[in-house]
Amino acid sequence: MNKQVQKYLWYFLMLILTLIFIAPILSSLTTALTPSQDLFSSAGRLFPGKITLDNFRSVWNEMPMKQWYMNSIIVATLYTLGHLFHTSLAGYALSCTNFPGRNIVLIVAVSTLMVPFHVVMVPMFTLMRDLGWIDKLYPLFIPSFFGELTSDSNPKRVNNSFPVA
């Protein structure tokens, strides 16, 4: 096959795949920009007919969006700082120093990476309740300063410590 033709075919395929990956995101953007009275007549469309920012305005005014943004920003910032704090300290101790019991700590730390968060979900909930932290932001970032089981980051951490090559 001609190199040039092959290249155009490749671009064509990539663009079709792009459409598949973009369509759900695009459709939600379109829905957000569509006036609410036209929502059902224009549903399932990829591009909006009439464009309005009313939805953004009303969600900002009617919902405590500012509060939600602040919550997310606070939690994201402190959670990241917390993880940097305990992982850099512990990581330095485990990789650059030698002390009695180092291997035990290492083995135990790595093996808890395999335990999913959800096994401790129920006791964590009662622990937070006993601390009086229910409906507060504390449970979302305070454990990160010390070390905890996390539901989503495990595989990536296993990935890093994983002796694949």
Binding site: T18, P24, Y92, A93, H118, M121, M124, L149, V164
Partner: protein
């Protein structure tokens, strides 16, 4: 004696000080709750009263007779068994497609990775909207091909496939990146040598690229299964476990029993069963590793 000890461990107490935060967290937030879950699973632990009494293996016996536990286990396995091969194969194909030097290839890579950056909650919302029976985008597309579309999230038969499609759409970019990293490690001389020998593209893939990718396949399947067993957010947003438990997964079962009905002991027992299932899978999977995973320079 003292001088000998300080010779082999010249850092003294410093390492322990550095480890202190992690050790506090480990005892408070990891091993503490873990022990608590183990003990709690043998008691009638309840959300609404402080004391709990030992009841032996009753929770486990009840669990294995529980119809909805059986259903949610089957649902979870269904989800994992359908999702993992799909996303792994598609991610590998995608990685092969974008492993070139054409202009704009970085753009396409980013586009395919984009869904993984979105939060699961918003993905659930977007896809629920797409699956809306009469007016959703999915059914509009299907009707243009004159396929009579199912009602997706309201049909017990189609709700799980719908969730799986949305999950594949989200995950495939992440696994593509892993495959891509391995593909870029394939030595160029091997490819050149095969071209000199006149190997076809298929042979090159089958006998050079695929064996070199087996560690990546091994890793993506393992992570896919571990994360698949923990599916919660996307089904919770899209279906709340319905219709008629068709998408109730193990985690949702645990969540409903523990935090909604307050039956903490029972929920802990279920979470331990989930942990044991995952441990058995991981151990067996690692044991089977040397049969098919090829490590460059090691075999």
């Amino acid at each position: 004696m003292k001088s000998k000890l300080s010779q082999s461990f010249p850092d003294g107490a410093w390492p322990y000080l550095f480890l202190l935060p992690y050790l506090i967290g480990f005892s408070l937030f990891i091993i503490g709750p873990l022990t608590n879950a183990c003990i709690g699973s043998f008691t009638d632990w309840c959300l609404f009263r402080p004391e709990r009494t030992f009841i032996g293996a009753e929770n486990f016996v009840k669990l294995f007779q529980d119809e909805s536990f059986r259903i949610s286990t089957i649902n979870t396995i269904y989800y994992v068994v359908a999702l993992v091969p799909l996303q792994t194969t598609l991610a590998m194909l995608l990685a092969l497609l974008v492993n070139r030097t054409f202009r704009g290839v970085t753009f396409f890579r980013n586009v395919y990775f984009a869904p993984f950056v979105m939060s699961l909650a918003s993905i659930g919302m977007v896809w629920s909207w797409l699956y809306t029976t009469d007016i959703g985008l999915v059914n509009r597309v299907l009707s243009t091909f004159s396929i009579s579309p199912p009602v997706w999230l309201h049909d017990p038969k189609w709700a799980m496939p719908a969730v799986i499609i949305a999950s594949v759409w989200r995950n495939v970019g992440y696994y593509m990146v892993i495959f891509l990293a391995w593909l870029q490690n394939v030595p160029a001389e091997l490819i050149e040598a095969s071209q000199v020998d006149g190997a076809t593209a298929w042979h090159r893939f089958r006998h050079i690229i695929l064996p070199l990718l087996t560690p990546a396949i091994f890793f993506t399947i393992m992570i896919g299964v571990i994360l698949g067993f923990q599916v919660f957010d996307i089904t919770y947003i899209m279906t709340q476990g319905g219709p008629s438990q068709a998408t109730t997964t193990l985690l949702m079962f645990i969540y409903k029993k523990g935090l909604t009905s307050g039956n903490l002991g029972y929920a802990s027992a279920a979470s331990l069963v989930l942990l044991i299932m995952m441990l058995i899978f991981t151990i067996l999977y690692f044991m089977g590793q040397k049969k098919w995973v090829f490590y460059q320079g090691r075999n």
